[in-house]
Symmetry: C2
Subunit: 453 residues, 2 copies
């Protein structure tokens, strides 16, 4: 917080409170919140749990309205009485409490950063490496019950392929501020385009789902819900005292509320990326366009397994392809009909032509484009031609280029800069398209006018 | 080939044959194979398909015994007569043919490299980037029906997290040398520890499965089989003229033969990594050790979904933990019983102690270790202590550290250098453990003595 204030990122004041110090990090330190020269709005509490209620009492008397309690040692280790005491004191002064047992808030726009985890660590070889990074500004907000998951998420969202973050809230034991309130808040936040939420259980499931139903009409909510298996539920109960409840109940509730459920951590972020970049799709019929036969089949399998349909194209599409073949704009060897295999000799122009035909046809709800850079004909100019074709339409497209070397990374980054989510694995591109269409169908079912992503 | 010969990697001779040139790349060029100064053993054919049988005829007369036919334009585009002609000519001279319509062979040990795809490409900004890399020497061999998939695989296996390669064979239309023969060959190859195979369909399924049954007793075979869905099958039929057959039949056959089936491309390589590094497991009961509650639950769900069991530990294990808590070697807040959450305050020593107890207990078949580096107590010295504990035992362990930043990459790389497969996603670590146990159970069912991985 102090570093952010000194750098001018955080515009507010930061005061230190601790009875045992007169200075902290070169700043004056006060014995109590009520001793501060100006009344504090928010108190960030990171002291032994037993002292927390007293500190909140003092902050309340001094006029504070919000408390972020990082300290653990409450209900999560069975100390429910202490947590109840905390809530009682806070409500006496109308202080809203986030936590306890949480990481709090990270917001790259305001510089609010309550994460206590060190940004860098010193390795035994003397190198100082980034350990818990702070993601750059983005449009995706994250709501997490697990602090550890939250750290991992920040690490992922800040990474070389990171999507950045709008706001991060780790709410821990949610003794006062609930996940439903936070969800509502993100729903209203204009900078948040996609809401991610990691859950082990809901404290007030019905309220959450009701709010989610409305918010989903404005912006997508992606949930990763753990505690699915019996052993997982048992673990969740001991971790955050979460009443996990049957996974089928969650599954049904999510569906009702248009919440897009990620099957694993990777999907959680993949869906966020896709939904932040691309428009929702409206129909389950999708197309696969590829310059690589095998990966095209793999993609088709993954789409079908998700409940999307990779059907033969109608004859009006096929005759357009025939015309292009006849005029030598597409290769005669072009084979198949959805997946359409442009073969390893496909040029950027052939990709663009094929995409435009498919995107313009009302039967197609979205496209997975497999453009492997290994093909001799594919250079980085492909990205511009493909992106231009996609940008002119309002249907979702996800891209896959496989591999981990320089060219693959370069191509994927170029696609992403043009707003086209790009994945290293065909199944990930397929699942991301599924998320876009799943969401689009929720919007349509609720008569929400299509929006450009 | 020539570059490899000039660098002394490839020890054989390389001759060029082309009637229109007298020199290629500064080397003499001969009109026909039969004009070469010495008889060629292997001919690598990359000429228009219509000319291939004639070239093979000439090579046969000159005493060649093997032909790798890169050229496409055979059965895959319906040109079956030409392919039959090729086979007829080859068999007349006892030449074995790999391909046609394939990439051929890459072997970093001998420098045999028939890949025609350029290693680097020139981008429009003038940068020359690696496009189709050649992986370093490794212990995993890959057999692929799809050339494009093969390129992508090489790109992945050569990447910053790549596992290297023993031998790569892309067999394309397999007009002569079959996948079963190649499988058998890899089975006998002492440098190959794990066999990967990408399939769209088998030409002689029964033979392949019978051979796989025997080879699986010596080394693991991992298969990625596409054409699972109906649309995928249709695409496979048009791609490699593969008779895909019902996916359930493949599923059953794979199970019989101990073939470990990857559900997606990511798993394909993850399984290879795990099987090349760790010993197989013997029982379905596994443990999750974590310093991060949420990711521990996610892992538990993934293990259970794979059919493994994350059961409460027997009381003999719990009493060992109690003793360690009493003597302050483990934290009192340590919670749960499988997953065992050592909490964010867990030290390297606590990890090592917990692992040793679990690995020594006969009820535990393997462990997923979630060691998030974000925890303030975790530094890189953790890797050594954890690795030492694991190396002393013969049970499989997979590790997950989440995130993409420097410290995460460093920790994962350090684990891998110690032979412990390390993943960025908890579900991937869980599935890799599943593969190790699935394989171990095949070995046990066939009374194969346990081997150290």
């Amino acid at each position: 917080m102090l570093a952010n204030r000194r750098q001018g990122i955080f515009k507010g004041d930061v005061y230190f409170v601790n009875p045992n110090h007169s200075q902290i990090l070169g700043e004056p330190c006060y014995p109590k919140v009520s001793d501060l020269p100006r009344p504090a709005e928010t108190v960030l509490v990171a002291i032994p749990s037993i002292l927390v209620p007293e500190a909140i009492e003092d902050a309340g008397q001094a006029g504070a309205t919000a408390g972020i309690v990082i300290s653990s040692g409450f209900a999560e280790i069975g100390n429910r009485t202490l947590e109840e005491e905390l809530v009682r004191v806070a409500s006496k002064y109308d202080i809203r409490i986030l936590g306890p047992n949480c990481l709090g808030v990270y917001d790259p726009y305001t510089g609010m950063d309550t994460l206590f985890l060190p940004e860098t660590k010193l390795l035994s070889d003397g190198r100082e490496v980034v350990a818990t990074p702070r993601p750059r500004r983005g449009t995706v907000s994250l709501l997490t019950q697990s602090g550890a998951f939250g750290c991992a998420a920040l690490d992922y969202m800040a990474g070389p392929h990171g999507i950045g973050i709008r706001r991060f809230v780790s709410y821990g034991n949610r003794c006062d501020v609930t996940e439903s309130e936070l969800l509502e808040y993100f729903g209203m936040d204009t900078k948040t385009r996609v809401i991610l939420t990691y859950l082990e259980g809901l404290s007030e499931g019905r309220v959450f789902i009701e709010k989610a139903k409305e918010i989903s009409k404005k912006k997508p909510i992606v949930a990763l819900k753990s505690g699915r298996s019996e052993s997982g539920m048992r673990a969740a109960a001991s971790h955050t005292a979460a009443l996990a409840g049957s996974d089928q109940i969650y599954q049904g509730a999510f569906r009702q509320a248009g919440i897009i459920r990620a099957q694993n951590v990777e999907e959680f972020f993949d869906f966020a990326r896709a939904l932040a970049m691309q428009p929702p799709g409206l129909t389950n019929n999708v197309a696969v366009v590829t310059n690589a036969g095998g990966p095209g089949i793999i993609t088709t399998d993954a789409l079908e397994a998700s409940g999307l349909h990779v059907r033969k194209f109608p004859s009006r599409i096929m005759s357009k392809f025939s015309n292009l073949k006849a005029s030598k704009k597409l290769l005669p060897v072009l084979s198949g009909t959805n997946p359409i295999d442009l073969t390893a000799e496909a040029t950027s122009r052939m990709f663009a032509l094929t995409l435009s035909i498919l995107l313009d046809d009302p039967s197609i709800g979205g496209i997975v484009l497999i453009a492997l850079h290994h093909a001799p004909t594919i250079l980085d100019d492909a990205v511009g031609m493909i992106a231009e074709t996609i940008e002119k339409r309002t249907k979702p497209v996800t891209v896959c280029d496989m591999g981990e070397t320089e060219m693959a990374e370069t191509m994927r980054t170029m696609f992403e800069k043009r707003g086209i989510p790009s994945f290293s694995m065909p199944e990930r591109a397929a699942r991301a398209l599924w998320a876009l269409i799943y969401y689009g169908r929720y919007l349509r079912a609720h008569n929400v006018t299509e929006r450009r992503g």
